[in-house]
Symmetry: C2
Subunit: 199 residues, 2 copies
Amino acid sequence: MSSKDRIQKIKEDTRHNILRASLDIVKEEGWGALSMRKIADKIDYTAPVIYEYFSNKDAILKELTRIGYVKLAGKMEEARELSTTPEGQLEAMWLAYWHFAFAYKELYQVMYGVEMNCCSIENSCPDYVRPMNMLWDKIEEITPAEKRSEEYIDRKYYSFWSVVHGLISINLTNQINRDELNREVLKDAISGLINSIKN
Amino acid sequence: MSSKDRIQKIKEDTRHNILRASLDIVKEEGWGALSMRKIADKIDYTAPVIYEYFSNKDAILKELTRIGYVKLAGKMEEARELSTTPEGQLEAMWLAYWHFAFAYKELYQVMYGVEMNCCSIENSCPDYVRPMNMLWDKIEEITPAEKRSEEYIDRKYYSFWSVVHGLISINLTNQINRDELNREVLKDAISGLINSIKN
DNA sequence: TTTAAAATCTAACACTGTTAGGCAAAATTA
DNA sequence: TAATTTTGCCTAACAGTGTTAGATTTTAAA
């Protein structure tokens, strides 16, 4: 009856509270600080109670991942409605994807396994910048003199790096191995960018 | 004298063994399984000994990161020597970067914070594929009929995704925030790809 | 051979995810 | 209403984590 429904609702609330508490902790202290006891503290329970709502910690992460995908799809739908041409819609959807990643940074991180590196990279270890410098210099070399500016080369460098690193990340996280697809995407992107620099 | 040198060498060896043992464990069981005690076991010591060579676990990860960058630069140099034109050299260097990421997967992961997601994504939760489907369909829509094949749309979808996700990952890990650069790279890539589809 | 120093270990602390078992309040049944 | 069952929640524990302090053994110097 009504009491059963009320109990059901309280259970759903608690489940929701666990998810919200988790996300709050991550927002405040990062993924590394998320623990079952900390979640329990936030919702005024002890840790074992959580296991009545989620079978383990991974299940919480998985549900947050799912929520992330739902939210992302919603944002993309919203963006699509703002444009009338298909080209405009496609662009709007990618921009919505982009904005989602930063507006819901923590969700994006758990969705795609993008973790902050241990410690601050910018300890200016010279080894860190050498690969970048090698590529940067070579891009500079093939850039026609009239285009050659720091901003231009920077932009091209980041364009290269984005496609390559993006494709690598996708391959490393989703272990879907599609060699011929990778090769074509990579070749397309690299030759496309080289052409866009030379002309 | 000689005894001091020998001691010095043993110390260097131990330091090296710690790093190699760490990488071995990660290769066998993944980053999540790497622990100080497990490293110590592999080199026939107890855990506290490691702290005479590295101030903490992060320092080990940091050194592995550095080693990764050195190795990457080496591979890129090798690749560069194989070509004579600057365009060929640039392409070869990016391909070397690409191959490095898979040949030294664990190093690439610690260098760029690309972690495997908790559990297998392909539990075929329909929510996971919705954003992809939305984009895929829209790409199909703007693709001229004579080009329209599954392979073609797949390739274009992954090209889009790679740039956008790559740029996001770079922004999330290296917290270097360069808004105008991001906007330009993103706009360039998206409009470039849309044009390449339409023509 | 005694003494100083270096190398290494054990034990502990505070944390982690997770499970088992118990206690008390609530709901159900007689 | 009284007895019984179910539910909700907690404490305590286990095995693991990174890390530190202190004791102990081994090596080197006097």
